[in-house]
Symmetry: C2
Subunit: 465 residues, 2 copies
């Protein structure tokens, strides 16, 4: 398994060997979450809940199916989705009067209810989210977690009195993102998408992109400001202090199971998956090193360490199967367990536990008595090092270019006058995707790489995943 | 709101006033889980996960959509479902070659995969579950949580070497059920369904029924033994120790959001919801009793108690809104918060907190210093009392009858010869549903209530919910 020379094959191989997902389900692109993969996703979901709950969002759950009549109220939105939604047309032996869309995203399910829920300015802000599966009829080649037809994701939806309040929500979303990505050790760029690539119906869209080892950017989520684009067709109004009816300003924020794809791509290596401790289903695996005459003593010591760590809230597994240690090492390396602990007779004599870090292969010992503190410390250090290393890679993946000859397989940064004409020309002639312009403006003084006009605007592009 | 005189109206009123669900979504029977209702459901889900994980089940997540070709492999199964499934026939602008069923239950999604996953007897038992939404095109009148078209539920699926092993799984399921129902304080009967009412494709079905205040039994879940009825059409085989290919024996166990309906119906009273402490989103609400001159002292004491309880893992809310205590009492009573704590100047002077139990109105005080222990103790006692009281009601709801004249609005127990003819006659002539025979046999010596033949078999029936 060579990650750098053949990323695509390596990726599929890891997904299968680490037991994350089974793509043999008889509908292409609808995969089965197998236990280990689903545990990772659920751990990520818990971090999402923690962050959204802490910032005053309420968790709800909206229905899966949306009547065509509701779905079609916002014109840009339906234009963006009608080629990729699934339609329920029959129920039992009857044809339905109104066809139902299988949720591709929940604006059109939620907003008719928002219009009932919101009456007065005192009902605002309304901040809710749900964690559900969403459905897109993908026609491109599918890939586990990255391009699938049933997508696990969260979406938060908010309503505000003014455009500025909605803008503040977007900024809160960036803080939520920052905290989440610290736990997942995933770096990202914030790029305001082009007008022709923004979310259908949005005022603006900020894409959250992370660099894959093949130099391409993977969109792991997005944050949208809708202004009143949806509240007008869905009639979501509040009565202000003067008794006037005003349209609410809305935002949304969503991230999907692509986060699992990002974990694999950003951190994995030729030996397999490398999981950040916060989301690893098993944070430390204990492997007893047995030889004749010491089986009982070593087993007892291993069980003791297991108990200490479990009691301290560490997700630990004692692998006491009757197999060679080497084959156990191999298996847990593929599954990306952050920390391996080995206990043999020599360790017991020295009153230590040997550890091996999955992220950098670093080896050492911690004292048996302080194993809990030692393991906590190492796990924290793994998280920090994985985060720093990933950001370092993300930054080094960006190359500023001044010419379109000999484009490297990286994320490209260049001057763009901002015109739609130059943008389309750039994409078409180079088979590249214009990812947009930095949300946090960058100083630039150069020329548009297409038309050559002087510009202080910079844009990013990469090949599509 | 009078529960006993008009259960149906009372039920709908509680659902709305307690903020459990919003049924104004523009598809009948597909309701929106609002924050408070969804929190209750998520708490129940966590108990389910705890029990299933502890008994060696792995959580997975299977796709929502099932190809018609897979769905139709087991003949009884499809006969039982084809009048009540939703069909996806189009995707984007295309008509699909193979129509897709929106999951009504996951046998036909899972079993093609089981046939790939299971190779040898060492792969058994296979025990998995998922927590998802399922879809039924209900034609009867819908009712929140009890009869809906999008149903939140869990289903566990197991595969075993022998019929006996599968039977042992059924018995483990009863233990899981017992523990779960202790936390939810929901009593139940185990009734083996009649041949014509068992799950389509099952060898036998045990219905889990709880009595509603109107005397009718609500099915809150079911446990099925499939023998090899599905493993044959889905070709799920293992190689035994002698190298022979044998079909696996299967079981399933499922319970749905009807558990929320049961919580409402079993425990609620004329003041509103009454929630068992294990699943209550808020276990204790603190209401400061303020009057002039003591605002700071009372507020500080209330905050102090809130912190103590929260640190001890109790789900506590301090309601310090600027409103009259009476209207706060009213609101938290509707929402069924198990314990109300009141702190006023008099309490502070006596160094106590006043408590009021939601389940029985019991009042008292706990010492301020030991508030945590005191609250823990009261919550445990509430759980136990709610459980005992609910079982008492469940038992008293059953009436043994020997004649079909003047049937009371209760669950009826009577002799049945066991013939299908008498069973159908009984159901048709009395507009009752034959719930089945007790899974744990009961001593009986009497006559079949229909044909009059002597029988030692007893059956149960009630009107449909």
């Amino acid at each position: 398994m060579e990650k750098d020379t053949n990323f695509n094959e390596w990726y599929n191989d890891i997904v299968e060997k680490a037991g994350l997902s089974d793509k043999r389900y008889p509908i292409k692109g609808m995969n089965v979450w197998t236990p280990y993969g689903w545990k990772i996703m659920r751990n990520i979901d818990e971090y999402i809940r923690r962050e959204l709950d802490a910032t005053g969002h309420d968790e709800v759950c909206f229905p899966l199916l949306i009547p065509e009549t509701e779905f079609k109220k916002e014109k840009e939105h339906i234009k963006g989705f009608d080629s990729e939604v699934y339609w329920v047309t029959h129920a039992g032996l009857n044809e339905l009067d109104v066809r139902l869309v299988v949720r591709p995203t929940s604006e059109t399910a939620m907003y008719p209810m928002f219009s009932l829920w919101i009456r007065s300015h005192t009902d605002l802000p309304l901040k809710i989210y749900h964690l559900v599966n969403t459905f897109r009829y993908e026609t491109k080649q599918t890939r586990s977690f990255i391009r699938v037809r049933e997508i696990h994701f969260f979406e938060s939806h908010t309503c505000h009195v003014t455009e500025e309040d909605a803008q503040k929500q977007v900024e809160e979303d960036f803080l939520i993102l920052e905290r989440l990505m610290k736990d997942l050790c995933i770096p990202y760029s914030l790029l305001t998408r082009t007008e022709w690539d923004k979310f259908p119906g949005a005022y603006y869209t900020v894409g959250l992109d992370t660099a894959m080892p093949n130099g391409r950017m993977l969109q792991i989520g997005s944050i949208h400001h809708y202004r009143t684009n949806f509240s007008i067709p869905y009639n979501i109004t509040y009565e202000d202090a003067d008794g006037e009816h005003m349209y609410v300003h809305q935002t949304t924020y969503g991230m999907s199971e692509r986060l699992v794809g990002a974990l694999i791509g950003v951190h994995g290596d030729d030996k397999g998956l490398v999981l950040p401790p916060p989301v690893a289903p098993i944070q430390a695996v204990i492997i007893p090193i047995l030889s004749k005459g010491n089986i009982d003593a070593v087993t007892a010591a291993a069980k003791n360490v297991e108990k200490m760590l479990r009691d301290a809230g560490i997700r630990v597994k004692l692998d006491d199967r009757d197999e060679r240690p080497g084959s156990k090492f191999f298996e847990w390396e593929i599954k990306g367990v952050p920390l391996r602990l080995e206990i043999g007779m020599k360790d017991i004599e020295k009153n230590v536990v040997t550890f091996v870090r999955r992220d950098n292969g670093g080896k050492g010992t911690v004292s048996l008595q302080d194993a809990t503190d030692g393991v906590h410390l190492i796990l924290r250090s793994i998280r920090k090092d994985m985060y720093d290393k990933a950001w370092e890679k993300q930054r080094s993946n960006v190359t500023t270019i001044t010419s379109l000859d000999d484009l490297p397989e990286k994320t490209l940064r260049f001057g763009w006058c901002g015109s739609e004409e130059c943008g389309h020309k750039f994409e078409d002639e180079n088979d590249l995707k214009l990812l947009g312009t930095p949300y946090i403006p960058e100083e630039f003084d150069g020329k548009c790489i297409i038309c050559g006009k002087p510009t202080d605007k910079v844009a990013y592009a990469s090949r599509s995943m």
